[in-house]
């Protein structure tokens, strides 16, 4: 693997934007037939490095060579033509076109200017067979899941005789099974000699697939390591550049006594709440100060549970009791009145208003709760926003910056602040740490612990079991749109047991059958 010559080298790369030094003297190399993970926190320079490589940005300094020849691409198309293809996090294909057309559009085989559709379909089938995918190539791409679409994007990328394949966070919206499928394809391509540059936030995935890791921090190169020689903890330390006391501290903090909390009337108790086609009826109680984790695979119904709690979807049946008295959560407005806050998983589409400033975004929910006819005085706004910008360490600490200019982690904090300001009694967090860097992740986790200490109930949804275990008092496990188990987070509970529950369903469920 390492005895061959690198297919791609980047040497002494520097790149500055007005006021920001995005990359400083970074070296990077990529060998044929390896999966090379590029790691770093948000803002470490990963994206900039990829954009410099694919010609989206010019370099200020430094050289790039492909097969030993210096190259400088004018844009992604030229890079692709030279054999350097990129697959982005968001699938950049057209869902209205067929699978085959998505693979070949722009370079269809033609005869006298006419597209040879038979040939397009034949080649698409051959290519997909090579990736061990069995798809109907004439079907519209939109009829397949995101994971399949992602793989079609890869098929498109490698068809152009790619020697270097860049995968920019391809796994962030895939579930475990889909990730496994993607990895199978990555391994196969690697074995065929393609060099794969893999960017991800998931450490486990790096250790599962990557042969080598390059770590960036603050636009500088930290180093290049063989995965086998760098323990996971060491990698995290290199990424954030400090010891992990913070995370350790959190670990001690958790696993508090559930018994004490469970006494007294639950803050929210729902029984047989459900919605046909979304989630089977379930019962769940949440006490003040309790963190209830919701674990399960993507698509297992976690978000649907959250939406029922917030009244975003209307339940078909079941009872809701708040503070022991019968109540209902039929609309978000009603839920907000009862003190429920909801940070959506889909922060771009459902949460953040990118054009509005940090201040306006934070004030939004509170203003809505007061009613639009009673504006919050500007001074009060500034006070509140200032407090939360400081408390959550939102950067940049300028409340008048449009939110779209913030990194993912900071956008998430703004969304959190929006709900915290309304002082909810139950806060629903749907994947609050997905796609954000480890520093911001730790801050958000610490905050959840603090809030629950302060008496706030939290419904915490996450695909990362470690995180759920670290924060929750009780873990509810979702599987196939059913809540299959509720497990107290005591000594006996670990990620493996949750995995088993997800995989097999609970004993209770088995008994029911």
């Amino acid at each position: 693997m390492t005895d061959s010559r690198p297919v791609l080298t980047m040497t002494g790369i520097s790149k500055s934007f007005p006021g920001v030094r995005a990359l400083h003297n970074v070296n990077f190399r990529l060998f044929p037939g390896e999966v090379h993970a590029l790691m770093g926190e948000n803002g470490a320079g990963k994206s900039t490095l990829i954009k410099v490589l694919t010609g989206v940005y010019d370099t200020d300094e430094g050289t790039i060579t492909l097969d030993g020849e210096p190259v400088s691409f004018s844009g992604p198309m030229q890079a692709t033509a030279a054999g350097v293809s990129t697959v982005y996090q968001e699938v950049n294909l057209c869902t209205n076109l067929s699978v085959a057309e998505n693979i070949f559009i722009g370079r269809e085989p033609r005869l006298l200017g006419a597209v040879r559709w038979g040939e397009v379909r034949r080649r698409a089938r051959a290519l997909l067979t090579r990736l061990d995918l069995d798809l109907d190539v004439s079907a519209p791409l939109g009829s397949y899941s995101l994971a399949i679409q992602q793989m079609v994007a890869i098929a498109r990328a490698i068809d152009i005789q790619a020697r270097v394949l860049i995968l920019d966070e391809p796994t962030s919206s895939l579930d475990a099974g889909e990730v496994a499928q993607l990895f199978r394809i990555m391994r196969q391509l690697r074995d065929e000699g393609i060099a794969i540059l893999f960017v991800t936030h998931f450490l486990d995935q790096v250790y599962e697939i990557a042969d080598r890791i390059t770590v960036l921090r603050n636009g500088g190169l930290v180093g290049e390591y063989l995965t086998a020689e760098l323990p996971q903890l060491g990698l995290v330390e290199k990424m954030i550049g400090k010891e992990l006391d913070v995370l350790e501290g959190l670990e001690e903090h958790s696993r508090r006594d559930l018994g004490a909390l469970e006494e007294g009337t639950p803050l929210v108790a729902v029984s047989n709440l459900g919605r046909a086609g979304a989630v089977a009826p379930f019962s769940l109680t949440i006490h003040a100060g309790e963190v209830v984790g919701l674990a399960g695979l993507l698509g297992s119904g976690r978000t649907e549970v959250a939406r029922l709690f917030f009244g975003a979807d209307r339940a078909d049946g079941g009872q809701v009791a708040i503070d022991g008295t019968s109540s209902s959560l039929r609309t978000p407005a009603q839920a907000i009145d009862q003190g429920v806050g909801f940070c959506s998983e889909n922060r771009r589409a459902e949460g953040i208003v990118p054009e509005l400033s940090v201040r306006e975004n934070i004030i939004l929910a509170m203003q809505a709760a007061r009613g639009w006819l009673r504006p919050i005085p500007r001074r009060r706004q500034d006070e509140l926003v200032d407090k939360y910008v400081k408390a959550l360490n939102i950067r940049p600490a300028d409340p008048e910056v449009p939110v779209r200019n913030l990194s993912g982690g900071n956008q998430q904090k703004v969304l959190l602040a929006r709900w915290l300001i309304t002082e909810p009694r139950l806060l629903i967090l749907d994947e609050p740490t997905r796609g954000i860097d480890i520093g911001a992740k730790t801050e958000i986790q610490r905050l959840v612990t603090q809030l629950s200490d302060g008496g706030m109930a939290v419904l915490f949804i996450s695909a990362e079991l470690e995180e759920v275990l670290r924060l929750s008092h009780k873990v509810a496990v979702m599987r196939d749109r059913q809540m299959v188990a509720q497990l107290a987070n005591d000594e006996s509970l670990d990620a493996e047991r949750i995995m088993q529950t997800i995989a097999s369903g609970s004993h209770r469920e088995e008994a029911d059958r």
Partner: protein
């Protein structure tokens, strides 16, 4: 997002035939209307009734084909009616001034695409809403009509009258005009371009997801500019056909035609947000409009405004149908 893996297989099962559902619905509607006509009025079954629908709506069909390109990219072209009128006016004016017919044809056929090209460039390079750019184009072209002449100009040119009066028919006396043949030619060329050329496929890709199209390396700007130019060309051809039909150029002809055209395209199953639709559907859409008019003419007692009322109802029904089918899945 969370539901992706779960809903995807379910979607697959029902979606595959759905792409053709709007076109099939239009076809069914057309057959039903024709059936009603035949059962109510004996003369309706005469083939010439169908031919007349084509003769009366040939220019509308050509313009609708151009509009199909624009709407497939997710755009809109409001200037078509005015460009049709302007083309007819320019032709009539130049012929009156004594220019040879061939030269007039060339000039008339250049004006529309040029205006379309300019509008396309404005839409692409300045990133302005197509609605507003083509609205400006619409006012400009309409203004040019009255600038040329405040009143109608008759056409007496030999070539024009021949094209107007030539009947291509069979021994039973059924016939079509040359305009109909030209319209068919335009339809065939357009269908070929959309299905088999890169330009055509790029039109669908741009309409499906412009951002993705750009990242896939497709020429987003060129495609956008091209569709407005094509629409301009089709409007110009439509204008010529209209002047064959009326043998005059009038400043206030084809007012509001752009809305009929959009209605025909949408009833023909092309989705307003772009990315889905066929030229064949547009032909059916135009036929639906034509048959409604014919039915109302046959009835004789109904006000011609009933055409508008029925089209309004149909348009609404078809938009609703598109929404229900959920052809726009993102």
């Amino acid at each position: 997002m969370t539901t992706g893996s779960l809903t995807a297989p379910r979607r697959t099962r029902i979606r595959l035939p759905r792409r053709q559902v709007p076109v099939l619905a239009t076809l069914a509607l057309l057959l039903v209307m024709y059936g009603i006509g035949v059962s109510q009025y004996t003369a309706f079954s005469n083939v010439q009734v169908i031919f007349n629908v084509f003769i009366d709506n040939g220019f509308l069909l050509v313009v609708a084909v151009g509009m199909t390109f624009v709407i497939l990219t997710g755009g809109i072209d409001l200037s078509v009616g005015s460009v049709v009128a302007m083309t007819a006016m320019v032709s009539a004016d130049l012929l009156q001034k004594g220019l040879p017919a061939a030269l007039v044809l060339v000039i008339a056929l250049l004006i529309g695409p040029t205006l379309g090209l300019l509008m396309g460039c404005a839409i692409h390079f300045f990133d302005i809403q197509p609605f507003i750019v083509t609205l400006a184009g619409m006012f400009f072209a309409r203004g040019m009509c009255t600038f040329i002449s405040g009143s109608s100009i008759p056409i007496t040119d030999g070539f024009w009258t021949r094209m107007s009066q030539e009947r291509i028919g069979n021994s039973q006396g059924n016939f079509v005009s040359i305009s109909v043949l030209i319209a068919f030619a335009v339809v065939l060329v357009a269908a070929y371009v959309l299905a088999y050329t890169r330009l055509g496929r790029n039109v669908y890709a741009v309409g499906g997801n412009p951002q993705s199209a750009l990242l896939m390396g497709l020429p987003l700007g060129r495609t956008r500019i091209a569709v407005y130019t094509i629409s301009g060309l089709c409007s110009a051809i439509g204008g010529i056909l209209l002047s064959f039909y009326t043998l005059s150029g009038a400043p206030l002809i084809a007012v509001g035609m752009e809305l009929d055209v959009i209605a025909a395209v949408v009833i023909g199953g092309t989705v307003l947000t772009g990315g889905s639709g066929y030229v064949f559907g547009t032909v059916l859409g135009v036929l639906v409009l034509g048959v409604i008019q014919t039915l109302i003419t046959f009835d004789g007692s109904l006000n011609s405004w009933w055409t508008k009322i029925v089209i309004g109802g149909l348009l609404f029904a078809f938009i609703l149908l598109q929404r229900l089918i959920g052809i726009r899945y993102k």
